[in-house]
C-alpha cells in the first residue's frame, strides 16, 4: 500500500534533509494543516500511531477480502445449523433457479432442553425473466422438524411410511434414516428419546410452490439425496446441541450413498416391483393399466419399499400422479422403534401373525422375522378386486428375508412354499 510510504520515511530517515520547505512555500490553511500532519508523522509516537492505524486498516481489509472473521459474511439458517455455501446445493448459488430477486431466509425456533421440539422453515426465492417476457418464479421451502413422532397411531404409520417409500434410500454409514431428493428422516440416538420413550427424529420436507400456469408441479431441487442427508445430519447435530443431548462426537455422513433408486418402471409386464404375485394390472381397466408405474425403492436387509401409481394423463388435464399404494418393510431397529405402541396386542385380522392395525387406507403389521422384529406397512389401496396387495407384499418379503409367512396364505401362495 502506498499509504505506508510516509511512515517509512519518518521512521528511519537518514541524516541529510534537503530543504524542509514544502509547507513554507504554501499560503493556504490546507497546507499548514498538511504540514502539521507531516510533522506529526515524523515524531516517533506519530510513526507508531500511524503504523498501527495502517496495520489495522490492512488487517481489516484483508479479513474482509478473504471472507474470514469478523467479516465472514456467510448467512446462517435454521438455528445456525446450516451455513451459506457449506456444500448442499440449496445453500449455494445453484440453489437459485433465477438471476433476479434472490433471497434465502429462515424462520423457526430451535429445540430447548425444556421443550425438545423445534421447527424451521428455509425459503429460497428467485425469479427469472425469459427473452419472450415470460417470468418464472422460484419459491422453494425446506421445512425441518425436530421432535417425537406424531402421537396418534394412524398418523405415525402414514408419517413414517411417507419418508421410507418411493425413491428413499437408506442413509449411508449406518445412520438410522432414509432420504431422497426432497425429503428425509433421521432417528436420533437413544439419549435424545422423549420422556415417554418415543425416539426423537429429525425430518426434512422440501416443497416447491406451483405456479398457476404449470402443467406439472415443479420438483424442488436441493442438490440430490446426498445433500439432503447432509442437511438432515447438520440439523440433527445442531438440534441435539440445543436440546442438550448432543454426544461427544457429532453425527456425520461418513460415506457416499452407495446406490441410488432404480428408474420407475412403466413398461414391465411382470408383477409390480418384481414381487411374485403382486399383480395390480388385473384390477385395473385396460386404459389405466397402461399408465401403471411402479418404483422399486431400497431392497436390502433393513428396508424395502414398493410404490405403485397411475401416471398422470396430461390429455385428461391431470397435474399429478394418482398414488395406488406405498408398501414398506422396515426392520432397522431405531426406525422400527418409531412404531412402538402403534399396534394393539392382537393380530390385525384373522390368520395374521404378529400384531397390527388395519384401517381403510392404511395397514400395519409387526412380526418376528428371522429373529428380528419386522414392520410391514402399506399406505393407500390395500386390496384390489382380485388380490390382497398387502398380504402378497408381506409374504413375499418375509420369504425373501427367510421367515415364515406373516399374512394368511391363500392356496396359491401356500402351494408355492
Amino acid at each position: 500500500m502506498t499509504g505506508e510510504s510516509p511512515v517509512g520515511s519518518s521512521g528511519g530517515a537518514p541524516g541529510d534533509i534537503p530543504g524542509d520547505s514544502g509547507a513554507d512555500r504554501t499560503h493556504g490553511a490546507d497546507a499548514q494543516r498538511l504540514a502539521r500532519v507531516r510533522r506529526f508523522v515524523r515524531t516517533r509516537r506519530g510513526a507508531v500511531a500511524t503504523g498501527l492505524a495502517v496495520a489495522l486498516l490492512a488487517g481489516g481489509l484483508g479479513t474482509w477480502a478473504t471472507d474470514t472473521w469478523p467479516f465472514d459474511g456467510r448467512d446462517q439458517y435454521c438455528w445456525g445449523a446450516w451455513e451459506q455455501d457449506s456444500g448442499p446445493g440449496v445453500l449455494g448459488d445453484e440453489g437459485f433457479e433465477g438471476d433476479d430477486g434472490r433471497s434465502r431466509t429462515s424462520t423457526g425456533t430451535a429445540p430447548t432442553p425444556g421443550s425438545p421440539r423445534g421447527e424451521c422453515r428455509l425459503t429460497v426465492a428467485s425469479s427469472h425473466t425469459f427473452s419472450d417476457g415470460d417470468k418464472d418464479r422460484q419459491r422453494t421451502t425446506v421445512r425441518v422438524r425436530y421432535g417425537p413422532p406424531p402421537k396418534s397411531a394412524g398418523q405415525r404409520v402414514s408419517w413414517l411410511g411417507g419418508y421410507l417409500a418411493d425413491r428413499a434410500m437408506p442413509l449411508p454409514g449406518g445412520l438410522p434414516g432414509a432420504a431422497d431428493g426432497n425429503h428425509g428422516i433421521l432417528v436420533l440416538p437413544e439419549r435424545c428419546d422423549a420422556r415417554d420413550g418415543r425416539p426423537t427424529a429429525v425430518t426434512l420436507d422440501a416443497h416447491e410452490e406451483a405456479a398457476d400456469d404449470d402443467r406439472v408441479p415443479d420438483v424442488p431441487d436441493l442438490g440430490g439425496s446426498q445433500d439432503v442427508a447432509e442437511l438432515l445430519v447438520a440439523a440433527a447435530n445442531k438440534g441435539m446441541k440445543a436440546a442438550g443431548c448432543a454426544g461427544a462426537e457429532p453425527l456425520r455422513v461418513t460415506s457416499v450413498l452407495p446406490e441410488l433408486p432404480e428408474r420407475a418402471d412403466t413398461f414391465s409386464r411382470g408383477p409390480v416391483c418384481r414381487i411374485p404375485g403382486l399383480d395390480v394390472r388385473a384390477d385395473l381397466t385396460k386404459e389405466t393399466a397402461m399408465r401403471l408405474v411402479y418404483q422399486v425403492g431400497a431392497v436390502n436387509e433393513d428396508l424395502q419399499s414398493c410404490s405403485a401409481r397411475i401416471a398422470r394423463s396430461v390429455r385428461l388435464g391431470e397435474r399429478s400422479d394418482q398414488p395406488l399404494f406405498d408398501a414398506v418393510m422396515v426392520r432397522e431397529p431405531r426406525l422400527t422403534r418409531l412404531l412402538d405402541g402403534v399396534a394393539t396386542t392382537e393380530a390385525p385380522a384373522k390368520g395374521w401373525r404378529g400384531t397390527g392395525d388395519f384401517a381403510a387406507d392404511r395397514r400395519f403389521v409387526r412380526a418376528e422375522c428371522a429373529g428380528r422384529p419386522t414392520a410391514f406397512l402399506l399406505l393407500g389401496t390395500p386390496t384390489g378386486a382380485t388380490s390382497d396387495y398387502f398380504a402378497t407384499f408381506t409374504n413375499a418379503v418375509a420369504r425373501r428375508l427367510g421367515c415364515a409367512p406373516v399374512a394368511p396364505t391363500t392356496d396359491a401362495e401356500g402351494g408355492r412354499r
Binding site: 520515511s9 534533509i17 514544502g22 504554501t26 497546507a31 498538511l34 454409514g173 414381487i275
Partner: protein, 441 residues
C-alpha cells in the same frame, strides 16, 4: 476528515508518479553503466537526478503533500542510498539479496510442496509416497507411469485411466479406472474369472467391491457419479498385483494393502468429481479369506442338497474354494489353472454387477425356462450349452445371474446335471425362490 483523506490520497498518488519517473531515469542510467562494464557501475557520475522531482506549484494546495514527500529524504532502501554504498558493500548487498531471494523462494516452494519439493502423487494424484510405500512393503524406489483419466467421447465408454507402479526388483501393481464392459467379449470373461474369483472377499459396508491379496476392485458409489443406465456396467477402479496362485491361502496383510489402496483411488476420483464424503478404510470389516473346502458328499461346492451323481465324475475334481463373507457374488472355483477355473459355479447377487451377463442371457443355446412362466410373464431367461449354463432371474432385489461354466471340455454332462438344483438352492438362499427350472431337452 474526509477532506483530509482525499488530500492525502491525492498527494500520495502524486508522489508516486514523480517517484516512478525518477526511478525510470535512474534505471536507464544504470543500464548504460552496466554496458560499460562492471567497474563503472559504482560511479555515480551520470546525470541522474539527485534533487528529486521539481517543486510543486504553490497554487495547487492538493499537490503540496506530494511535493513535501518528494522533497523529503529518500527512504533507506532507495536507489540513491544504494548508490552511496561502496563497491564492496554493494556486491555484498547484491549477494545478500540474491541469497535472500533464493532462500525465500525455496522456503515458499517447500511450504506449498511445489517444484523440487513437490510430493510425488502417483496414479492420477491419488497415492502419495507413503501410500505407494505401503503397497511395496515400505520400499520407496518405486517408479510409475500412467494414462490420465479421460473420456472416450466417440465410443461412449465412460471415463477411463490406467496406472502402473514398478519396483526395480520386478514387482508390479497396476490400477485401472473403467466402466465394466457388458458387451460381447467384454469383462464377463477374463475380468470375471480373476476379479470375481472365490479368493475375493467383499469390501462390505454397502460398497460394491471385492479384494484378495492379488486383485481388488471397487465401484464408484452411485451417490457420487449417478446411477449408470441399466444396461451399462458400473464404473470401477480395479487393481492387480501379480499372479493369482490358488495353492496358497490369501495373505490378509497383502489384502489389506490392496483394500486401502483401491479405496484411496476411488476417494480421490470422487473428490475430483466434487463429492466431499470419503469412503472409510474397509480393512477392519473384511471377512476371513476363503479356504479350500472339504465338501460333504451331498453338498457339492458347499451347496446343501447339490450332488453330482456318479461318484467317479465327482472325484475327478480337486477340492473347491468357495468365496466367503456374503456379498455381490458367491463363487465356487474348482481346479484353477492360470487364473481360470476348470469349473465355476457362480451366483451374481448384485444387479449392477449382473448387468455383465444381461446381454449374454439373450444369446443362443438351448433355452432354459422356469415353471410357472406364461407367455406374458417369465421369471427370467437363460440357456444351456456344452460349456455353460446361464440363467438370469428377475428377483425382488433386481436381476440375479446364476452361472455354471467350464473352461476345459468334456463337462457338458456335469453342467446339465448340476444346473437345476444349483439354481433352485441358490435362489432360495438369496430370497428369490421358489425357482424351478425346466431343462431343455
Amino acid at each position: 476528515m474526509s477532506d483530509m483523506d482525499r488530500a492525502m490520497n491525492k498527494g500520495v498518488k502524486g508522489a508516486e508518479d514523480t517517484d516512478a519517473e525518477g526511478t525510470d531515469a535512474e534505471g536507464a542510467a544504470l543500464t548504460v553503466n552496466a554496458a560499460k562494464g562492471d567497474g563503472a557501475v559504482g560511479a555515480p557520475t551520470d546525470g541522474a537526478p539527485t534533487d528529486g522531482a521539481p517543486a510543486a506549484p504553490a497554487d495547487k494546495p492538493l499537490g503540496v503533500l506530494a511535493a513535501a514527500i518528494a522533497a523529503a529524504p529518500p527512504p533507506w532502501w532507495h536507489w540513491r542510498s544504494l548508490r552511496r554504498l561502496s563497491r564492496g558493500h554493494r556486491r555484498r548487498a547484491v549477494a545478500a539479496a540474491v541469497a535472500g531471494a533464493l532462500l525465500g523462494g525455496t522456503l515458499v516452494a517447500w511450504q506449498v510442496e511445489a517444484g523440487p519439493f513437490e510430493r510425488e502423487q502417483a496414479c492420477w494424484g491419488a497415492l502419495d509416497e507413503d501410500d505407494v510405500a505401503d503397497l511395496f512393503h515400505g520400499k520407496r524406489d518405486i517408479e510409475y507411469s500412467q494414462m490420465d483419466i479421460g473420456y472416450d467421447r466417440i465410443a461412449s465408454d465412460g471415463p477411463s485411466g490406467r496406472c502402473e507402479l514398478r519396483s526395480p526388483r520386478g514387482h508390479r501393481v497396476r490400477a485401472q479406472l473403467h466402466r465394466l464392459d457388458t458387451r460381447f467379449g467384454g469383462d464377463r470373461d477374463v475380468w470375471a474369472d480373476e476379479y470375481l474369483s472365490a479368493r475375493m472377499t467383499p469390501l462390505g459396508g454397502g460398497l460394491l467391491g471385492m479384494v484378495s491379496d492379488t486383485r481388488a476392485w471397487l465401484a464408484v458409489p452411485e451417490g457420487c457419479v449417478g446411477r449408470t443406465p441399466d444396461r451399462d456396467g458400473p464404473l470401477v477402479v480395479d487393481m492387480e498385483a501379480g499372479w493369482t496362485t490358488y495353492r496358497d491361502a490369501v495373505d490378509p496383510d497383502e489384502r489389506a494393502r490392496l483394500a486401502r489402496a483401491v479405496v484411496k483411488l476411488v476417494n480421490h476420483y470422487m473428490a475430483d468429481q466434487g463429492c466431499d464424503s470419503d469412503l472409510p478404510d474397509p480393512t477392519d470389516r473384511l471377512a476371513a479369506p476363503a479356504r479350500f473346502l472339504d465338501e460333504k458328499p451331498d453338498a457339492f461346492c458347499g451347496v446343501k442338497g447339490l450332488r453330482l451323481p456318479g461318484s467317479r465324475e465327482s472325484s475327478s475334481y480337486e477340492r473347491p474354494m468357495v468365496s466367503s463373507g456374503g456379498g455381490p457374488v458367491r463363487t465356487c472355483d474348482r481346479d484353477v489353472l492360470f487364473g481360470h477355473p476348470k469349473l465355476r459355479l457362480m451366483t451374481v447377487e448384485n444387479s449392477r454387477l449382473a448387468a455383465l451377463y444381461e446381454g449374454l442371457s439373450f444369446e443362443g443355446g438351448r433355452r432354459i425356462t422356469a415353471e410357472g412362466d406364461t407367455k406374458d410373464q417369465v421369471r427370467g431367461r437363460g440357456f444351456l450349452r456344452e460349456d455353460m449354463a446361464l440363467y438370469q432371474a428377475s428377483c425382488q432385489t433386481g436381476d440375479v445371474t446364476f452361472l455354471i461354466r467350464s473352461d476345459g471340455g468334456g463337462r457338458a454332462a456335469d453342467i446339465r446335471r448340476l444346473m437345476p438344483r444349483y439354481i433352485a438352492a441358490e435362489a432360495d438362499r438369496i430370497g428369490c425362490g421358489p425357482l424351478r427350472l425346466r431343462l431343455p431337452t
